[in-house]
C-alpha cells in the first residue's frame, strides 16, 4: 500500500451505501422503448444517421459524432427507429435483442490506431459523470507523457455504489481494461485508489492483482473522506502530485479513469460491444428493491424505478447522481444516459428540503472543509455582490463544486449554487466577448472549405486528365511544366497543415477536459478549419505528384 498523502479539508457525511450493496448485481428488464439523447457526453451532440422506420439491432450506429469532442450513439435495443428529432432518437424494441457488434480484437496484438478507432466507434465515454469521450483521453500520449494510470474507485459520494459493485463482480475485466488503456497511453504503473469502506471490492482486487500484466498494479486503500474521489484530491492523496490550477492530471503525468469506463473500453475492444448499457445504482428509501442494475441506455427512469419497486406515496424527489453533487430530477420521464450513475428515490425524511437560509456569520466552517483551500465565504459575498474581479482573484474557477462548504454551513447557505451561478455569468461574459472572434473564425472556416473544394475539383480534373493522357498529349505537356521545387513546398505545406490540425486538436482536447460541461464551439471551428486546410494541402500534393509522375509515364512506353 502506498503512503497516503493528504489533501486539505473534507467532510464525513453519512455514507448510506448499505442499501444498494446488500443485494447482488441484477439486470434490468429489456425496455419496450428507448429514447437515446444525441448528447449523452461532453461536447457537441452527435448527428443522427438513421431515419424513422429503419430497422436497427443492438449496437447499430444511429448517430455519428460531430467534431472532435463528441461521441457516437448506438442502438441499445433491436427494433424500429421511431421519432428522430434534434435531441433524441426513439427506438421501439422488437423484443428479439439481436446484436450487431464489431469484430472482436485482441488489444495485445492490435496496433494503437486501430484500438483508438475502436474506442471512437464504440461511443465509449467517461462513465463517472462528466462523459468525456474516452478515445480523446486515450490519445493523450500525442500531447503529454503519462507515467501513471489511476483507477478512481474512491466513490466518495454517499449512496453511490456502482464502482464498488463493478469491482466486486468484474475485478479481472476492470484490470484488463486498465492494462489496455495503460498500454495506449504509455503508463508504466497503474494505481487503484479506493476508500476503505469497500472491503469486498478490495478483497476481490487483491485476489486478482498479482496476475495483471504488463503494467505494475498497486492497490492504494485510502481513508474514507469526502471528496477523496475528486480527481485532483485523489492524485494528491495517492501520488502527492498537485495538478496545477487550470491544468489537467496529464500535466503531472497522470491519467484518471473510473472502473466502469475501463470495463466499457475492454468490452468495446475484446467483444466489439459498443456502449449500450451501464451499471446504475438505484437506491433511496422510496424503493423496495435497491441495488445495482445493468441498464440499457435510453431506458426511462420511471420504468426503471418502478421495476425496483418505487413507492410513489413515500417519494419526495428523485436525485440524479449523489446527494452532494447531484441534481433533483424535474420529471421521471427522462432516459438513462451514458453519465447516469445513480438514482436516489428519496423520502422526505431521508433528504429533507433545504432549511431556510440565514445570514452568513463568517464563522469560517466552510473554509476549514474546502478541499481546494479557497475562502468559500468570501466567494459567497463576492458572488452575491457580483464583484467579478474579486471572484476571479479569489480563484472562483478553482472551485470543484464538491458541496462540502454547503454541507457544513451553519446558516444553510446554498454556497455551491451561488458559485455555479457566478461561474455561469462569468463564462457568458467571456463567450459574449469572444463572439466577434468566433465570427471571424467561422469566416476563415468557410474560406478554407471553399479552397478545399476547389483543390478537390482540381485534383479530380487532374486525375481525369491523367487517365485520358494517351489521347491528349497537350494536357500532359502542360502539367510537366510544374517544377519539382513546387512539389517540395507543397509537401512542406502539407506537413505544416498536419501540425496545425494536431495543435488544434490538442488545444480543444485540453479545453474540453478542463471544462467538460462547457461548449467549445470556437475551438471546434478552428479545428475544422485546420482540417479543411490539411485536406486541401493533401489534394494539392496529390495533384502535383500526379503531374510529376506524368512525364515518366509518357517516357516509358
Amino acid at each position: 500500500m502506498l503512503h497516503p498523502f493528504d489533501f486539505p479539508g473534507g467532510i464525513y457525511p453519512p455514507e448510506r451505501k448499505d442499501r444498494s450493496t446488500l443485494s447482488p448485481l441484477r439486470r434490468a428488464p429489456l425496455p419496450s422503448q428507448v429514447i437515446l439523447p444525441l448528447c449523452q457526453h461532453s461536447g457537441r451532440p452527435a448527428t443522427p444517421c438513421v431515419a424513422r422506420g429503419d430497422h436497427v439491432r443492438v449496437g447499430s450506429l444511429i448517430a455519428k459524432r460531430d467534431g472532435l469532442i463528441s461521441a457516437d450513439v448506438h442502438a441499445t435495443v433491436s427494433g424500429t427507429v421511431g421519432h428522430v428529432d434534434s435531441d433524441a432518437i426513439h427506438i421501439d424494441s422488437d423484443g428479439q435483442d439481436t446484436r450487431q457488434y464489431l469484430p472482436p480484437l485482441d488489444w495485445r496484438t492490435t496496433d494503437a490506431p486501430t484500438l483508438l478507432m475502436r474506442l471512437d466507434e464504440s461511443g465509449v465515454v467517461g462513465l463517472g459523470g462528466a462523459g468525456f469521450p474516452t478515445h480523446i483521453k486515450a490519445r493523450v500520449i500525442e500531447w503529454h507523457a503519462i507515467d501513471t494510470l489511476v483507477i478512481n474507485a474512491a466513490e466518495c459520494e454517499p449512496y453511490i455504489t456502482a464502482d464498488d459493485l463493478t469491482l466486486r463482480n468484474y475485478p479481472n475485466d476492470v484490470l484488463e481494461g486498465a492494462q489496455l488503456i495503460a498500454a495506449l497511453c504509455g503508463a508504466q504503473q497503474i494505481i487503484i485508489g479506493i476508500e476503505d469502506n469497500k472491503p469486498e471490492a478490495i478483497a476481490a482486487l487483491e485476489h486478482t492483482l498479482p496476475d495483471s500484466q504488463p503494467a505494475r498494479v498497486t492497490l492504494a486503500v485510502i481513508p474514507t473522506r469526502y471528496p477523496s474521489g475528486s480527481e485532483r484530491q485523489l492524485i494528491k492523496k495517492l501520488l502527492n502530485r498537485t495538478v496545477p490550477s487550470q491544468g489537467l492530471p496529464a500535466d503531472v503525468g497522470v491519467l484518471c479513469h473510473n472502473p466502469g469506463t475501463l470495463l466499457a473500453a475492454l468490452y468495446a475492444v475484446r467483444d466489439g460491444q459498443p456502449l449500450v448499457e451501464r451499471m446504475v445504482t438505484l437506491t433511496g428509501e422510496a424503493i423496495t428493491q435497491p441495488g445495482n442494475y445493468w441498464v440499457r441506455l435510453g431506458t426511462s427512469i420511471e420504468t426503471l424505478l418502478s421495476h425496483a419497486g418505487l413507492d410513489n406515496a413515500r417519494l419526495s424527489r428523485v436525485i440524479l447522481g449523489g446527494p452532494m453533487m447531484g441534481t433533483s430530477l424535474e420529471t421521471l420521464n427522462t432516459p438513462v444516459k451514458k453519465t447516469t450513475n445513480c438514482l436516489i428515490a428519496a423520502t422526505p425524511d431521508e433528504l429533507p428540503p433545504a432549511p431556510v437560509e440565514s445570514p452568513c456569520i463568517r464563522c469560517g466552517a466552510c473554509e476549514s472543509v474546502c478541499p481546494a483551500q479557497l475562502l468559500p465565504q468570501q466567494l459567497h459575498w463576492y458572488a452575491r455582490a457580483q464583484d467579478d474581479d474579486k471572484l476571479t482573484s479569489h480563484h472562483l474557477f478553482d472551485c470543484i463544486e464538491c458541496g462540502a462548504c454547503s454541507y457544513v454551513c451553519p446558516s444553510h447557505i446554498p454556497l455551491v449554487d451561488d458559485y455555479r451561478d457566478a461561474k455561469r455569468r462569468l463564462r457568458y461574459q467571456q463567450i459574449e466577448a469572444a463572439k466577434a472572434e468566433h465570427a471571424k473564425h467561422r469566416f476563415e472556416f468557410r474560406q478554407a472549405r471553399l479552397a478545399r473544394e476547389e483543390a478537390e475539383k482540381q485534383a479530380r480534373r487532374q486525375a481525369r486528365l491523367a487517365h485520358n493522357k494517351p489521347t491528349d498529349g497537350n494536357a500532359s505537356n502542360e502539367s510537366t511544366s510544374a517544377p519539382p521545387a513546387d512539389l517540395r513546398s507543397l509537401r512542406i505545406a502539407q506537413t505544416a497543415a498536419k501540425a496545425a490540425v494536431r495543435k488544434a486538436e490538442k488545444v480543444l482536447a485540453r479545453a474540453a477536459q478542463q471544462e467538460p460541461q462547457q461548449p467549445h464551439e470556437d475551438l471546434e471551428t478552428l479545428l475544422a478549419t485546420a482540417q479543411e486546410n490539411l485536406k486541401a494541402a493533401d489534394f494539392q500534393l496529390a495533384q502535383a505528384r500526379e503531374s510529376a509522375k506524368a512525364p515518366t509515364a509518357e517516357d516509358t512506353p
Partner: protein, 346 residues
C-alpha cells in the same frame, strides 16, 4: 446542488460537524454561565440585573430596527445573536449599572454597530464592544465604579439600577479593580511594597482570579464543542503573555506580571467570548492567528503604556478595523497554484 446538510444528518453521522447558527449562538450563551455565575457570587445580583436589562433591551431594539428596515423579525430574533450581545455587554459593565447606561450601551451595540450596518453578519465591529467603548469614553464615572466584592443583595441595589443614587454616594461604593490599582500605584513604590500595603479590599484578587478561571472554563467548553476554533484565543493569550513577560522582565516594578495580566482583567473573557465573534474577526486561519495576536499585543500596550487599566474593548475594536486588511493579505493559496503566482493581491 447539495441535498445533504450537516445539521440535518448529523444525528446519523459518526463525526458531527458544526451545528446551525442559532444553536451556535445558544452554545455561546450557555458557555457564559460559569463566568456569569462566578461574577454574581462575588459581586451580587447587580450582575444579573445588568444582563437581564441588556438582553431585554437588546431584543426590543433588534425587533424595532428590523421593523424599520422591513425585515422579517422572527428568524432574526430566534438566532439569539441579540441575546448574546446583551449577555456580553451586561457582563462587561460594572455590577448594578443604571438602566439608562445599559440602554445607551445597547443602542450603540444593536442599533448603531449592528443593524445600521446591515444586521447579523454585516457588522464590522463587535457590537458588545462598540457599546462598551462608547460608554467608557462617554460616562467614565459610571464605567469605572467597580464595587468591591459584596453580598448577593446589597442595600443600594435598587437605587443603583434605577439611577437614583446620588453620585457622591456612588463614589463611596466604588473600589478599584486590581489592574486599576496597580496602574495608579504611587510612583516610586516597588511592586513588593505595593502588595504589602494591602491596596485592595479583601477578597478582591481572589474574586477576579475565580471569575477569570470561570470564563476560561466556559471557553474550554466552546473549544471542546467546536463552536470556536483555537486560533484566536491561543494567538491572543500567547501574544499577551509573551509581551507582558517582556515588559515585566524590563521593569517588574512598573509592569505587572503576565499572570496578573491574564487573570485579573477581562483577558480570558475577551479571548474566548469577544475576540472569537466570527462576524467581526478575520476569516482565514492564518488571518485569525494574526488577528488574535494583534489583540493580545494591543491589550498589553494599552494597559502598560496607555491611559486605560483594561483594554480588551479598544484592542478588539482596533483589530476589527484591521480585519479587511488582514483578510486581503491572508488569502490562502488554493491547491494547484504555485508559490508566488498572482493571487488576491494584484
Amino acid at each position: 446542488m447539495s441535498m445533504f446538510h450537516a445539521s440535518q444528518v448529523s444525528a446519523s453521522s459518526a463525526k458531527s460537524t458544526t451545528p446551525a447558527t442559532a444553536s451556535l449562538m445558544r452554545w455561546v450563551v450557555i458557555a457564559t454561565l460559569p463566568g456569569v455565575l462566578a461574577m454574581t457570587y462575588y459581586f451580587g445580583l447587580g450582575v444579573l440585573s445588568n444582563i437581564a436589562l441588556a438582553t431585554i433591551m437588546g431584543a426590543l431594539l433588534e425587533a424595532g430596527m428590523l421593523r424599520l428596515r422591513n425585515r422579517p423579525i422572527a428568524p432574526a430574533l430566534t438566532d439569539t445573536s441579540a441575546l448574546l450581545t446583551g449577555v456580553l455587554l451586561g457582563a462587561s459593565l460594572p455590577p448594578a449599572s443604571p438602566w439608562w447606561l445599559i440602554g445607551v450601551g445597547m443602542i450603540a451595540a444593536v442599533v448603531i454597530a449592528k443593524q445600521l450596518y446591515g444586521g447579523l453578519g454585516h457588522n464590522p465591529f463587535n457590537p458588545a464592544m462598540a457599546g462598551y467603548a462608547l460608554l467608557l469614553v462617554s460616562f467614565p464615572t459610571y464605567m469605572t465604579l467597580w464595587a468591591p466584592p459584596q453580598p448577593l443583595i446589597s442595600d443600594t441595589l435598587w437605587a443603583q439600577i434605577l439611577g437614583t443614587l446620588p453620585t457622591s454616594q456612588l463614589d463611596a461604593l466604588s473600589g478599584a479593580t486590581p489592574l486599576d490599582a496597580f496602574k495608579h500605584k504611587a510612583e516610586g513604590l516597588s511592586a513588593e511594597q505595593f502588595w504589602l500595603s494591602a491596596p485592595l479590599p479583601e477578597q478582591t484578587l481572589a474574586a477576579w482570579y475565580s471569575i477569570s478561571l470561570a470564563w476560561l472554563a466556559g471557553g474550554v467548553l466552546l473549544l471542546f464543542k467546536r463552536i470556536i476554533s483555537w486560533h484566536i484565543p491561543i494567538a491572543l493569550l500567547g501574544s499577551l503573555v509573551a509581551l507582558a513577560t517582556l515588559f515585566h522582565l524590563l521593569d517588574p516594578n512598573c509592569f505587572a506580571s503576565p499572570l496578573f495580566h491574564l487573570l485579573t482583567g477581562a483577558a480570558l473573557f475577551g479571548a474566548f467570548f469577544i475576540a472569537t465573534d466570527p462576524v467581526s474577526a478575520a476569516t482565514s486561519q492564518r488571518g485569525k492567528l494574526l488577528y488574535g495576536m494583534g489583540i493580545g499585543v494591543l491589550i498589553i500596550v494599552i494597559r502598560n503604556l496607555g491611559g486605560y487599566p483594561d483594554a480588551v474593548a479598544f484592542a478588539v475594536l482596533l483589530m476589527n478595523l484591521c480585519v479587511p486588511l488582514i483578510d486581503l493579505y491572508t488569502v490562502p493559496r488554493p491547491q494547484g497554484h504555485s508559490k508566488g503566482a498572482p493571487g488576491a493581491l494584484r
